[in-house]
Symmetry: C2
Subunit: 174 residues, 2 copies
């Protein structure tokens, strides 16, 4: 199965000039979704992952499946104000302004081998914030994984100290 053929490109979403990569068509193909999860899980197992850190919101789809498949604990990185207990926060730059991610202070424990999980790597800002949060709690980030990578945005450069993996890479916007 060609995974890229299961991604729907939506021109001018969410704004003119952006080609949005719609993963719902892949999620609607059960064999393709489970095939991705199995390959991803196998890699995380080989790296001795002890904790999945999934980034809101689409990262939860992959994080939930991976945590269950591997039987490792799942932690959530969320937008500010969503997590109800004690949190730590990390800000990152957007094209205009900044945004932030939070995790609970008990989401990760000292010595955890953490896999960061999200659907899409763009500029890498969100993933780097999640990595820093994991590290602040004493975790070691041993895998940063995505379904899709927008390679033309060079997110890997921002994450160059970490092992970055993706299943579908786009070399150009179109």
């Amino acid at each position: 199965m060609e995974l890229a053929g299961l991604i729907r490109s939506i021109p001018d979403f969410p704004k003119p000039g952006i080609v949005f990569k719609d993963i719902t068509t892949l999620l609607g193909d059960a064999e393709a979704f489970s095939g991705v999860i199995e390959a991803w899980a196998e890699r995380l197992r080989s790296r001795g992952v002890t904790r999945i850190l999934a980034i809101e919101a689409r990262g939860f789809i992959f994080g939930g499946a991976l945590a269950h498949h591997l039987r490792v604990p799942l932690a959530l990185a969320r937008k500010p104000g969503k997590l109800p207990w004690l949190t730590i926060r990390e800000s990152y730059s957007l094209e205009y302004g900044t945004d932030s991610l939070e995790i609970h202070r008990d989401a990760i424990v000292e010595g955890d081998r953490v896999a960061v999980v999200d659907d899409l790597l763009a500029t890498g800002g969100t993933a780097l914030a999640a990595i820093r949060l994991a590290e602040q709690l004493g975790g070691e980030v041993v895998d940063v994984g995505f379904l899709i990578e927008l390679a033309f945005l060079s997110g890997r450069r921002k994450l160059e100290r970490y092992p970055v993996e993706s299943y579908i890479a786009y070399a150009s916007e179109a």
Copy 2:
């Protein structure tokens, strides 16, 4: 394992007088999370489910794991403006004002046996909106499942035409 013992109650979140049920402590217990997913999946299998409809955002955690475990297609119900392709929308009442959910027009196909999945049943408004969206696309909703049920809010009454299931039920606010 007593599942309820893995849920953390947070007083006065997100506002005074509300006791928020924090599921992250259960997600951090891999055996408990996988145990829930296995029981939930077994029930969906017995009901002949052909499509999971997961509600944003925490429903994605359970929906992703269930879709992978059962190898059935996953559909997403999201807040307005998040889904990039053609959508249908359903509004529902909140304590103050209204909110809406959307799904893609190809998220469910005629004849699908749909399982609606979310983390928490409160008043049932969100779940009912998801059910109506599934039905508009020709799906039959054969299971409406939650990890937690706030039974004192009587959400089941709003969903009485459907088979509603939960794993942890709270009889009172405290």
